[in-house]
């Protein structure tokens, strides 16, 4: 187990488990909720096949610590720097070349929800609650929440959730496809880990990473450029698989 700021890291077989470790609410004390270099070091092991992000205890994360955020906001330049670093972290998680699951139980608010949205796969427990409560405090999601939510569920529904600040339960989140799976609260740990184990078992890491890169390209590159990059990744794998057979 490695610990940094409010984040803990451990390995479970081929899966890396990142915990937001500041119970009970797992508040994120600052927008730059972990050090990117530290995360990159955790991920350095190329045998890693997937990552899971969860909260320690009953909740995923209640989001930013408003008191600390207010203090931070007194100095605009510090605030801007922190926000940019936080966004960079979200972007880093979003672009990871292994599958990442957000395993959400209990409360998942604000910056916590932004971390969950950065994960390409979201699994929640049937007692999970989701919200962007920022507008209640006269602010708004600041780590890409407006962009990620709008892309995922459409601008209309996203506006409703962000402007109202209302809390969604697990069933509502599933219906909106804000989450991909909803399971009983006592099963979520086993289900999430089991899901990633089943997904990646027998698949070599080169294949997993190539597929993930191509899927990300599909989101970020123009269509025909993404097709070209896919063919490149495909050819590279084909050559490698031929060499492996010869060995």
């Amino acid at each position: 187990m490695k610990q940094h700021k409010v984040i803990a890291w451990e390995r479970n077989g081929d899966i890396g488990v990142l915990s937001i470790d500041n119970p009970p609410g797992n508040l994120l004390e600052e927008p730059e909720f972990m050090d990117r270099k530290w995360l990159e070091e955790c991920l350095e092991d190329k045998s890693l096949k997937a990552m899971l992000i969860k909260g320690t205890g009953r909740h995923f994360s209640a989001g930013a610590d408003m008191k600390l955020l207010k203090k931070l906001a007194q100095d605009e330049s510090v605030m801007m720097k922190e926000m940019a670093a936080g966004k960079d972290l979200i972007r880093f998680i979003e672009q990871m070349d292994i599958p990442v699951v957000a395993s959400v139980s209990g409360v998942c608010f604000g910056a916590g929800l932004e971390i969950a949205l950065a994960c390409p796969i979201r699994i929640c427990s049937d007692n999970a609650l989701f919200a962007f409560p920022e507008t209640n405090y006269g602010i708004m999601p600041g780590l890409g929440g407006t962009v990620m939510l709008s892309k995922l569920i459409g601008p209309g529904k996203a506006a409703e959730i962000i402007l109202s600040g209302d809390i969604l339960n697990a069933q509502q989140a599933l219906k909106l496809r804000l989450v991909d799976y909803c399971v009983p609260a006592n099963e979520i740990s086993d289900f999430s880990l089991g899901y990633l184990e089943k997904l990646t078992s027998g698949r070599n890491t080169e294949v997993i990473r190539s597929v993930m890169r191509s899927l990300h390209n599909a989101q970020t590159l123009p269509f025909e450029k993404a097709l070209e990059e896919e063919t490149k990744l495909f050819c590279t794998l084909a050559v490698k698989s031929m060499q492996n057979e010869e060995e």
């Binding site: 599958p99 390409p120 796969i121 979201r122 995922l152 496809r177 991909d180 089943k198 997904l199 990646t200 027998g202 698949r203 070599n204 080169e206 294949v207 997993i208 190539s210 597929v211 993930m212 191509s214 899927l215 390209n217 599909a218 989101q219 269509f223 025909e224 993404a226 097709l227 070209e228 896919e230 063919t231 490149k232 990744l233 495909f234 050819c235 590279t236 794998l237 084909a238 050559v239 490698k240 698989s241 031929m242 492996n244």
Partner: protein, 215 residues
Amino acid sequence: MLLKTIDWKIENDIGHLVLCQPPANTMSRHFFEEMSILTRDILPRADFKALIIYGKGRHFSSGADHYDLRNRIMENMPADFPHELPGFLKETTRSFLFIENLPVPTFAAIRGTCFGSALELALHCRFRICAEGTVLGFPESSFGLMPGCGGSVKLPAITGLAKAIELIVSGRNFSAAEAYEWGIVHKIVHRRSLLEETVDLAKTMIHKHVPEWNP
């Protein structure tokens, strides 16, 4: 030009592109070569208002032969890869994109098996009509490969990222009912009436483009 692996005909303004290497209609190198000829020399000059792609016999297609495919990649690998790609793969992408960009409604009528490159071809059609009992999938990851003709680009746009990761990384098969639930196919019909119902759908769309007051 006589094609051996593809049957091409136009009936009542509807183009029929039939994969014709039964039993599994495996996409051999000849098939890809003939797709190139078809999309370069024949389809651009043909007059049709809708296109239906399907397989002869019980299956749509089991996809490409991955041993043959890998051999061809090794044989055709340009010296300056990855700046340049093997020509035959670029040509396959081009021919699939030609289908994608056709200015008429395009349908894949799918039954039996539809794997790998065959599913990629189907994803380049506007509509996918699927028979009950069809089995679909991207099995490439189980051969140490991945989709190479648009599968990993088209699928997430249809199903969302989570399902696309799940299907392509695991390589697992899925049923017609699952494909329908995830939006991969648009309609499920009985196996025996697959072609008939697809033709009917195509006809409906063609006729909607004819203004009623025009005699």
